[in-house]
Subunit: 433 residues, 2 copies
Amino acid sequence: MSRLRTDQAPSRMGERVTLAGWMHNWRDMGKFGFLVLRDGAGTFQVVLDDESEMDKLRGLQFESVLEVEGEVKPEPRAPGGAELHDCRVTVISPVLEPLPFEVNKKEFKPGLAVFLDNAPLGLRHPEKRALFRISAELMAGYREYLSQNGFVEIQSPKIVGSATESGANVFEIDYFGRPAYLAQSPQFYKQIMVGVFERVFEVGPVFRAEKHHTARHTNEYVSLDVEMGFIKDHTDVMAVLTGVMRHIFGRIATARAEEVELLQIKVPAVGEPIPSLRFPDAQQLIFERYGEDCRGEPDLAPQHEVWLCEYAEKELGSEFLFITHYPTSKRPFYTMPDDEDPTLTQGFDLLFRGCEVVTGGQRIHRYDQLLENAHKWGINPDDIAGYLLAFKFGMPPHGGFAVGLERLLMQLAGLGNLREATLFPRDVERLAP
Amino acid sequence: MSRLRTDQAPSRMGERVTLAGWMHNWRDMGKFGFLVLRDGAGTFQVVLDDESEMDKLRGLQFESVLEVEGEVKPEPRAPGGAELHDCRVTVISPVLEPLPFEVNKKEFKPGLAVFLDNAPLGLRHPEKRALFRISAELMAGYREYLSQNGFVEIQSPKIVGSATESGANVFEIDYFGRPAYLAQSPQFYKQIMVGVFERVFEVGPVFRAEKHHTARHTNEYVSLDVEMGFIKDHTDVMAVLTGVMRHIFGRIATARAEEVELLQIKVPAVGEPIPSLRFPDAQQLIFERYGEDCRGEPDLAPQHEVWLCEYAEKELGSEFLFITHYPTSKRPFYTMPDDEDPTLTQGFDLLFRGCEVVTGGQRIHRYDQLLENAHKWGINPDDIAGYLLAFKFGMPPHGGFAVGLERLLMQLAGLGNLREATLFPRDVERLAP
C-alpha cells in the first residue's frame, strides 16, 4: 500500500491507508494512546489501543520516524476531521536520545544559541516551518512579479577577481594560489546584464566580511536583486520596487494564509505610492519631532530609521517609507548624483517597520562620468575593466535595488534578530551547522 | 512622451512614439539610412531621411544608445511589420571606440577567449541572449514543477566550517582569521531540511577547486538540487527527476519557441520511463558493442558516456539514459548501498546526449549506519556534528539529485564547451569579468 501524505488522508474516510512521518507527540494513557504523526504536509492523529503496537512506541523519543497503517475514521475534534484507527506501526528510524528541547509545544523555549546549535531539530517546530515556508513564498512572489514584467533571471559568479566594488569587508579566497574574493553583491554583473536584457533579476547569496555583532547583520545573506534600463530617474526604480512589494505581500496573504495566522503576522498594506522623504528633510524631521540634531550627518542611525517609520505610520498611514537622496559620500562611486545638488545622490532606501530592508538608486551610465568617479573614489580602472567595458560599449540610464531576504522576513514576522530569519546563519562566531 | 518597448510599437500604427535602445545596425545610404534599434524586447527598423538626424549617427559606433521619436508606419518586410518614419534622434550614450567584434551578424565570429574577455559586449548578440533566456526558463521550469509537487525552496549557506563532504577540492576562505570553505554542494543542508519539510529544492552556486582543464568543467556553477523523504528507493527519486525533465523541456518548447528556433535547438522528448542500465551492465554493453573492456573500473569515462548514449538513442529511442548502481568506492559516504550487493550503491547518473547532467541517489537514513560509514570513509564525526544531529533525531528514507544548470544547457544547445553555457565562467585561469 503506497504511503499517503497526512493532508490526503481525510478524503479516504473508511479506507485503510498508510501514513509515515515523525512522532510529533505521543500520549500513552495505558490501555490506549494518542499519537500525532507529522509529515511535510501537516499532522494527523493516530489512535493506538493494541498493546503490542503501543509497545513499539514505548521507549522511543519524539521525532522517531514511523510508518502507520490504519483505517481513516471521522473525528471532528482531530485536525482534518479524521483520525487513524486499528493501526499497525513500523518504526523506521528510532530516536533513542532525549531531545535537547521540545519541538511540539506552542511556546518555543530554547534560547537563540541553543536553537541555532540544534537547528536541524529546531527547524522542525511548526512555527519555524511556517516561517521558512513564508521565506520561500517571498522568493516565489518576487520572481513571479518580475518575470511577468519582462525581467530575465541571471546567475552571476560569486567568486570575483578584485575586491573593488565597495573597497573593504570582503572575504578572501585562496584561488589556486592567488587571491580572489567573495562577491559582496551582484552589482557589477547585474548592471552589465542591463546591456544585454535591459531588465534583469537575481536571487542569490552575498557575502560581507563585517565584524559587527548586531541583531540585524550576518556575514552571508540572500539578496534579491533587480536592475533595469531606460529609466527616467530613480523614481522609476522605486515604482517597480513598490509593485514587487505589493505583489509579494498579496501573495503571502493568500498563498500562506495558514502560516500567517499561526505566526500571527500582520501582512502590511503597500500604498501606491509608498510615501517618500528626501534625506535632508528626514533629518530635519527627526530634529523637529524627536529633538535629535543629526542634520549634516552622512547616514541614518538605526534609531533614526525607527523614528522615521513611527512618523510614517502615524502621520502618513504607511508601514513603508522611502528615504531618497542619500549623500554622495556614503554611496558607491557608481551612484548617480542628483541633478540639482551633486552632494546628494539619486539613491534611496526603503524602510519597513523601523528598519532598512532595501537599498537602491539610479546608476551612472555614461562611460566618461563613471571613469571620472572611479578616479575620485580611488579605484584603479584596471581592477574594474570588465565592468567599464559595458559602459564603453553603450549603457542606457538605469538603476536597481537589492532586497535583503532575511531582513524582509525579520520585519514581516516581527523577529528580534536576523539570525531567526536565516536558515543556517553565518556570523563572526558561527559557521555551523 | 513615454518610451515604448520595440514589441509594443507595431500596435501603434500611425501614431508618433518614442523608442530607445542600442544601435544594433546602421546602413548609411547617403540621402537616407536604415537604423535597427535593439532593446530588451527585440529589434525595430527606423528610417532616417533627414540630413541633420543622420548626422547625429555619423561617427558613432554600433551599440551607441539612442532614443528615437517617430511615426509608426506599416512595412511588411521589416520585423514586426512596421518601421519608424519622420524621426528625431537623441544620442543617450555614444560609443566612440570600434567594437572588438560584431554583435549583429548571424555568424558569431570571435573565438572563445576573445568572447569571454569581452562578455559584457558579446552577450548582447541575439544568439547569446536567446541562450541565456533559455537558461532562465530552465530554472523557472524546474522551480515550477517542484513547487507544484510539494517541494519547498531553501537557501543554504555557501560558507561552511568544515571541508568534509567529499574531502578534497574545496576553496579555502580566510574567515576572520580562521579557515572556512566554500560549499561544494548544498548536500548536507538539503538532507537536514528533509527532516523539516520532507521535500525541498534549491537553486544556487556551488564551488569546486578542481584544477582540470576540460570543456565540461568549471570551478563555479549553478546546481539545481532536490531532496525528498519517504521514498521506497532511488527509483522514486528517478521518477521525480523524469517529471522535472519532462516539465522543463515542455516549457522550453512552448515558452521559448522563438529562441529554440533561432538557435536551431532540438528539444528532446523525455520518455516515461527514461531507460535505465545498471552500472555493471553498462560496462558489459560497452565491452560487447564497442570492444573496450572497462569492466571492473569504478567509474565511467567520458567516451563511455558517449557510447552509452549512442546505444540508448539507436536501440532504445531515448536521448536520456539512467545509469544506476555506481560502485560504493566512487560515491560519497552517505550513499545508500544496494540491498543485494553492498559493493554497489543505490546511486545514479542521468546521461543526456553523451554527457552526465545529473547525479543522484538514495542516502543512508539510519544514524548508526551513517556513523559507521563516516568512520569507514575516514571522516571525523565531530566535523559533521550538525549533519549527524538530523539523523540522531529521526530521518526518513530519502534521496535526491543535483542537476548542473550549465551542463544541461550545454547539452540542450549542442555547445562544445561548458564556458559557452555559463554567463561569466570561472576556471583555473579566468576570474573576470
